[in-house]
């Protein structure tokens, strides 16, 4: 009882802090200076129709590199944590329904295509590497569910992950030499605004991000799946 009252008191105190923060909120009337820059100069500088993408991939590209790294780290930590588990035993066979297998055979290529579409068009549509990568990874979930017992090689995923990660970094470095700085997207021609091949390196970078995120999430799922089998 005492414990709960203390905890409630703490939460009340936090609510008090948040109240002060909330009371400072009064909506927005227009873009602030930073956002205004992105919405005006940014259009010609980066050339991506999706402003969020231009911020994510270019202006705040270093954040995005960090983001990718976090997923990379997570996958690595999981592999490290369960390392002893997944090397030792055969995964148990699970009986998969015919329906699931057939459906997945049909759906898998479609899901892959959708995922790739999403990240390739990240500079034009509300999509991007992370979204596309997540879709790709969902294909992996489906594969795991339907094709029970088959080993999906970490090596392939690791390869994709490594190559796309290095490509991301190299594209960033190219920016130093060919354009205005690390991760500057204008190393390639900015192209026509709104076209698929536009916005310089953004589609390329986003594709690598998509592949990397897909591979990383798949790795995470894979590791967790294998531990699940071991648990039994």
């Amino acid at each position: 009882m005492i414990r709960n009252s203390i905890l409630l008191l703490i939460i009340a105190g936090l609510a008090f802090i948040f109240y002060h923060e909330l009371s400072a909120y009064h909506g927005n009337d227009g873009l602030n200076e930073t956002a205004n820059y992105y919405a005006t100069k940014g259009l010609s500088e980066v050339g991506a129709a999706n402003l969020v993408t231009s911020v994510v991939v270019t202006y705040r590209g270093l954040d995005t590199l960090g983001e990718v790294t976090i997923l990379f780290l997570t996958a690595a930590i999981l592999a490290l944590m369960f390392k002893t588990s997944h090397s030792q035993k055969e995964t148990q066979k699970r009986i998969t329904s015919e329906l699931l297998i057939t459906a997945s055979n049909v759906l898998l290529p479609v899901i892959f295509l959708v995922g790739i579409y999403i990240f390739i068009n990240g500079h034009l549509t509300p999509g991007g590497g992370f979204q596309g990568g997540a879709v790709l990874a969902s294909a992996m979930v489906l594969m795991l569910l339907s094709i029970s017992g088959r080993k999906i090689k970490h090596a392939v995923l690791d390869f994709i992950e490594a190559i796309s990660g290095i490509a991301f970094v190299l594209l960033g470095i190219l920016g130093i030499f060919l354009a205005g700085g690390f991760l500057d997207n204008s190393i390639f021609s900015l192209g026509t605004f709104g076209e698929l091949f536009s916005a310089g390196a953004i589609p390329v970078i986003y594709s690598f991000i998509g592949l990397k995120v897909g591979a990383e999430l798949s790795n995470i799922i894979l590791v967790l799946n294998q531990t699940q089998n071991v648990e039994k």
Binding site: I11, Y25, G27, V52, L71, L78, L124, T125, L224
Partner: protein, 123 residues
Amino acid sequence: MKYFSVEYISIFAGFILLLIGLWGIISQKNILKIIISFSIIDTSIHLILVSVGYIKNRTAPIIDGPVTRADAAQQVTDPVPQALVLTAIVIGVGITALMLSYALKLYEKNKSLEIDKYKSLKW
């Protein structure tokens, strides 16, 4: 009446969710419930951040359809908070995965998901 518009509702909901999540973290004994509380906090922060960048009667920051290149600055919402949320979501995914795998390992070691069973280190 302005407090009933969408940005106020969402930011208010965000803070309420945040408090609920924090309460969950310090009151729930079960590690999985604690992790769920963290997910609630994540969501609440995303809500708050997105609300912070919202501008009434404006659309997504994509130059497409009605939004023209020339007066984009008058038509779109702030892209920065959205970019931040995108990053925050990804980080949240990573953290959640880590928490769950830690929970798994803890369970493997001690066969319990009660957080107060893990007090061998103290003082």
